[in-house]
Amino acid sequence: MNETIAYKKPTSLYETFDRKGSGETCTHYCPGCGHGTIQKLIAEAIDSLGIQDRTIFLSPVGCAVFAYYYYDTGNIQCSHGRAPAVATGVKRTRKDAVVISYQGDGDLAGIGMTEIMHAANRGEHITVFFVNNAIYGMTGGQMAPTTPLGLKTLTTPFGRDYGRDGRPIGMAEVMNALVSPVYIERCSVSNPKDLLRTRKAITKALENQIEGKGFSFVEILSPCPTNWRMTPVDARHWIDTEMSRLFPVGLLRDTEETGLCAPHCVPWMDDSQLLAFLEGKKDPVIETGARVPGGTQRIQIAGFGGQGVLSAGELLATCGMNSSLSVTWLPSYGPEMRGGSAHVSVILSDEPVGSPLVERPDVLLAMSTPALDHFEPLMAPGGLVITNSSIVNRPLRRSDLHHVAIPATTMAKEENLVSAANVVMIASYILISRIFDLDTLRRCIPMVLRKKDLLKKNIALVDKAATYVQEYL
């Protein structure tokens, strides 16, 4: 007797699914759920195409939220409905990746309608698997955009009514109204014939991406026996007899033409090319001599809107980029262009930065009194506070912080450039921390400054700040 295995668990799924303790091998799906079947077909396709090492699987919000516990591939769990936007970012930065956006009908056709429309319209080189079970499953069976008319759900107890609730949306047809997608098919997992067709469609949609053809969209009619209140076998029968009349299965588009998002549309500059572009030079100077105290500086710059707080952060971050540091720049401001409060978090680091949030600043550049009031208590022990003493006239309340007072606004006024107090603050910080050479700052100001005719005055202010700080210290 010679035994060979014809079908077994795909290798692109983990051996165990350790969501609730180790050793579990069952999924979290209800008996007869379509997700399990569809995810197995996708895993099989990943295996047979040999793309496990470069697949990035995007889990949605919905019952499939835990797909990252199942797929032994790259995984990202996306905010509700945003998977096509995440897919866009991932694919444009990792062109060799095979990016799968796996979404349900509430996720894709409800809250995420915008993201799917625009990703499809741009012809992003991604594969979207749209699992349509005509209901919100995870939250307990509310009406979805795809719920058939007359169907009773938790939120349509008398059945969906077109006057009150609108009509069900056929997403494959909506996709077909756009020019950019290269492949659109609607399938079903309700019977063996359609199941095998779905298997082919999944493979084709992934092959399209591997071959760089463009945006592929596969809608899969999928049973939700629990929320439909049917047995798993009856639920599949209901797809064949009822749901597929509303959402007919079939191929809507398969074009030989390549989609819109051509290779030249995605970023192609490396760091030095980007700097050259910003600096307007062919051969940029990238410095490597930055000395970041402690390896990472978490800097909060805060003040009134109009004081150039956000630009100050941009200037500092640009200096960091020019010095081969990892940087982040995270602005926070109100709707007012002038007079509201504004602050910006900048991180300069020798290491890649995980999160741009600054909760315990090492450095505070306080350009107004409310800014000092707000951020002083949050400072890391022993941190550096530079205040704009033209406006902030109180001493620090904490004794463990280093305080330097610079009359930034006054100095800027003396140069007839009151808006450049921010440059004085940044110059002071660089001088005090010695993180960069002042030449780095001088070189970066033109990259950030929008009014080029003020360049000389800005550079003069840097020198003025340098003199002041040297005398002060």
Partner: protein, 73 residues
Amino acid sequence: MNLVRVCDDECKGCAICVSVCPKGCLAMSGELNAKGYEYVSFIENSPCTACGLCFLSCPEPSALTVCRIKEES
């Protein structure tokens, strides 16, 4: 002669495999597994062709394994 190996504790008793098998090789076992589901069982010596429809339609990744068996000549 082929066969389907059922991992009893992986089965959630949805019976989809029973409904799709063209040769009637699978049936509900009448027994409950550790999770409380009535699991399916493969009918010994039934004419399985190893077509894989049961495996492909089963929502659980490791409940079913389809084996092809060749008699050695």
